[in-house]
């Protein structure tokens, strides 16, 4: 293949982008400070230009993967000629350098979107917002160019690449990182708005109205990204779990918790002018958590299922970046946060109180997750030994903290701003309470086993759903519900659906690791799973052993499942491909373990009731977010 100079162009575009980002980060900021209009108008074109440059750079890297340019080290390490095209594209962010390039590409993309969609915002504000984004981009571009250049050449070029980790050769991986990063990086916009407002001292309802759609959009992506990751782990890792409290999962979950708190706090700031300081602080923390997440994943300091071989120098750079961002923004916060602006006063019984309580619990929850995630690091750095904090810790702490949140979720929307009548609240909600109690008693009885935690799960989820339905009916009688209202209800019901899924799976799942030979059967959840045979199979870049299993109920075969054990040509490591018969009320999950003697295999057979509701709930939440963003009052009006 002809060597091209394209990778050099991609590299050069990155260097130019660094220069532009410095300009974008410094000049409009000074311009806004000194009131020099000719300086602050630079912000928009700079943001547009840096997005264009990153598009070139990212496009070149993608192209190099597409044409198998193994003279680029990163391509040679993460792809090979036999890899199907869609995974070659996914491989662009399959490693450290490429995923950081994606990070910056998305960051400039958000900056571009802000530049395009904020024509009505005053020039000083927009200059400051884009400057802050420019500064963040500068830090990350320095990082990429200094320690992790994706365009580094390999002389002489490799004949073929080393290939992508087989685990990552999956449609889930093609979408999971971009979604997650869109969310992570998206919080940079809320962060930039917060910093800009601190700088200008203009911390008002208009600021909240501007921040809200951006925050919600980032939150939608983050929600989808986490859900995709969880779903991917469920079917691809062959363990059948959907959440492991793994440090890297936690790293994505903490910004989500803080982001969720921020969404709600911004509502109060916009509608009532309250919680201003709190909203600003949450915006700072949310983005700091995103950076921390990047640090945890990319530094390799934590033992995690995501721990790929990494370079410690990179960790130190991100750590420095993290401390600069967190330190300087908190310093600015301490200096400039309005001292007296409490906003509208409110009673103990008011919507503000409910939102505040929910916020506090969400932040405490994020704090407890942070503690459990960083505790092993802390203990290790104090030389007190090496430890690990397991899922029992997180379940023991996180679940109790979430109970009041779920309870309040159904109450808050009924309450009035400023003050509300407790008796009226009780009158409106007793119906939902009855439904919840009945569900909590009946469903566990129908399913067989009763436990208090199970009953509590159904109590809370039906409490939320019933309250949501009652309120929607009430709203329909009065007026056409706004998109905001629909969004809120969908989001809350999404949480309830998620809780139902979690409760069902954790209470009633059946997991069997068994020895099975041809014609052996095993029963799970009223289904009979029979092994028919185990045959060899051939894939595009792997050899496989394929098991054939029949799933039947009441003597009738419903589905044939074919889990595989794959050996990829380019890798010594075998890969388990689970086969799943998915359904609305249950999944049947079969995966091959290891071969035993006499054609028998160790086989994993799972029955997972309502497991798809977990991700369905996340989809509903994201859909709710979408409705909220599309609300009329955020409709973009052009400045004429």
């Amino acid at each position: 293949m002809m060597p091209t100079i394209l990778p050099e162009i991609g590299h050069f575009a990155l260097i130019l982008a660094l220069v532009i980002s410095i300009v974008q980060g410094v000049i409009p900021l000074i311009g806004a400070h000194q009131g020099r209009e000719d300086w602050l108008v630079l912000a928009r074109p700079a943001a547009q230009l840096s997005f264009a440059l990153l598009t070139i750079s990212f496009g070149v890297l993608t192209w190099s993967f597409y044409i198998n340019d193994f003279s680029v080290l990163y391509v040679a390490e993460h792809s090979n000629a036999l890899l199907p095209t869609v995974y070659r594209i996914g491989a662009v962010w399959g490693g450290h350098e490429g995923s950081l390039l994606l990070w910056i590409f998305l960051l400039t993309g958000w900056g571009f979107a802000v530049a395009q969609l904020s024509k009505t915002l005053d020039e000083f504000m927009i200059a400051r917002v884009l400057s802050v984004l420019g500064l963040i981009a500068t830090g990350l571009l320095l990082f990429v160019l200094g320690t992790s250049n994706p365009f580094e050449r390999l002389f002489p070029a490799a004949q073929d690449g080393r290939s992508l980790n087989p685990l990552l050769q999956d449609p889930g991986l093609v979408f999971h990182p971009p979604m997650l990063y869109m969310g992570y990086v998206g919080f940079s916009v809320a962060f930039a708005f917060a910093i800009a407002s601190l700088l200008s001292g203009k911390l008002d309802a208009a600021w909240a109205r501007w921040s809200r759609p951006w925050t919600i959009t980032a939150w939608i992506f983050l929600t989808l990204g986490i859900a995709l990751g969880s779903w991917w782990a469920y079917y691809e890792l062959g363990w059948g779990g959907w959440w492991f409290w793994d440090p890297v999962e936690n790293a994505s979950f903490m910004p989500w918790l803080i982001g969720t708190a921020l969404l709600h706090s911004l509502v109060v700031t916009e509608k009532r002018g309250g919680f201003k300081n709190w909203s600003v602080l949450l915006a700072i923390i949310a983005f700091s958590m995103s950076l921390l997440g990047t640090f945890l994943v990319r530094s390799g300091v934590l033992t995690s299922v995501h721990a790929f071989a990494t370079d410690p120098r990179r960790g130190i750079f991100i750590l420095i970046l993290l401390s600069v961002v967190v330190g300087s923004s908190l310093f600015l916060y301490a200096l400039r946060a309005p001292k007296s602006a409490i906003g509208g006063a409110f009673d103990l019984m008011s919507r503000e109180t409910f939102i505040l309580l929910g916020n506090v619990f969400l932040v405490v929850a994020a704090g407890s997750v942070l503690l459990g995630t960083l505790y092993p690091l802390l203990v290790d750095s104090l030389n007190l030994g090496k430890i690990s904090v397991g899922p029992p810790y997180f379940n023991a702490v996180f679940v109790p903290i979430m109970i009041p949140v779920l309870f309040l979720l159904a109450v808050g929307p009924w309450a009035n701003w400023k003050t509300t009548n407790l008796r009226l609240l009780l009158k409106r909600l007793w119906g939902a309470g009855v439904v919840a109690i009945v569900a909590a008693i009946l469903i566990p009885r129908m399913m067989g086993d009763f436990s208090w935690l199970t009953a509590l799960g159904f109590l809370l989820s039906f409490w939320i759903i019933a309250s949501g339905i009652l309120q929607t009916i009430r709203q329909l009688k009065v007026a056409k519900p706004t998109r905001s209202f629909i969004g809120m209800q969908l989001g809350h019901i999404g949480i309830a659906v998620f809780v139902i899924g979690v409760t069902m799976v954790s209470s009633y799942q059946e997991e069997r690791d068994v020895r099975m030979g041809p014609s052996d059967t095993v029963m799970v959840g009223g289904y009979q799973v029979q092994m028919i045979e185990v045959v060899p199979a051939q894939g595009p870049n792997y050899q496989a052993t394929r098991g054939v299993f029949e799933v039947s109920r009441h003597g009738r075969v419903e589905r044939v499942l074919t889990p595989e054990k794959r050996n990829y040509d380019s890798s010594a490591m075998p890969m388990t491909e689970a086969a799943i018969d998915a359904g609305l009320t249950r999944d049947i999950y079969v995966s091959l373990g290891e071969p035993l003697e006499n054609q028998a295999w160790a086989v994993r057979v799972y029955y997972k009731p309502f497991v798809d509701w977990i991700w369905g709930g996340c989809l509903l939440m994201a859909l709710g977010g979408l409705f909220a963003v599309m609300d009329k009052r955020y409709r973009l009006r052009s400045k004429k």
């Binding site: 980790n165 685990l167 890792l237 062959g238 363990w239 390799g300 033992t303 299922v305 995501h306 721990a307 790929f308 071989a309 405490v364 407890s368 503690l371 459990g372 505790y375 092993p376 030994g385 090496k386 430890i387 690990s388 904090v389 397991g390 029992p392 810790y393 023991a396 702490v397 109790p400 903290i401 690791d513 068994v514 020895r515 890798s571 010594a572 490591m573 075998p574 890969m575 388990t576 373990g593 290891e594 035993l596 160790a602 994993r604």
Partner: protein
């Protein structure tokens, strides 16, 4: 109630809530952490008694034996060896001669009964705790 009293009440309430949360968290942390112990330290009797812990090290080549669903293998830091048994299906990346981390307890015969064998995403990756165990053993200069 005067506003000043009301505020005091709020503060006391918040402090009580915080204290309860702290107790819950510390309690949960205490009973749910697993210590990493190197094979040499296990042999030296430094492993926690009656509590689950983790061992990091290499899976000794040739030590893997299957007995239906139960697998037996040896985890070593190249100085001392610990026999491990595990009932269930091993992760894909578990291999003789490679690093591994196991969690479980010692039984009366000094055999480690694992409840969990940790899997990693990347075949070229060595768990830091396994590497730590090897380094530790080498530093002490013990002979096998």
């Amino acid at each position: 109630m005067k506003p000043r009293h009301q505020r005091a009440l709020w503060i006391v309430g918040a402090l009580v809530a915080l204290a309860i949360a702290a107790v819950l968290i510390l309690n949960a942390l205490n009973s749910n952490i697993a210590l990493y112990v190197t094979p040499s330290d296990v042999v030296a009797g430094k492993a926690p008694k009656g509590q689950a812990f983790r061992i990091g090290g290499l899976v000794k080549p040739g030590s893997l034996k299957r007995d239906e669903l139960v697998v037996h293998f040896i985890v070593t830091d190249l100085v001392k060896e610990i026999p491990v048994s595990y009932k269930g299906i091993l992760p894909d990346l578990f291999k003789e001669g490679k690093g591994a981390v196991v969690q479980g307890k010692l039984d009366e015969d000094g055999q480690f009964v694992a409840t969990e064998v940790l899997a990693k995403h990347d075949e070229n990756y060595m768990p830091p705790e396994a590497k730590h165990a090897l380094d530790q053993a080498q530093k002490n200069g013990d002979k096998p």
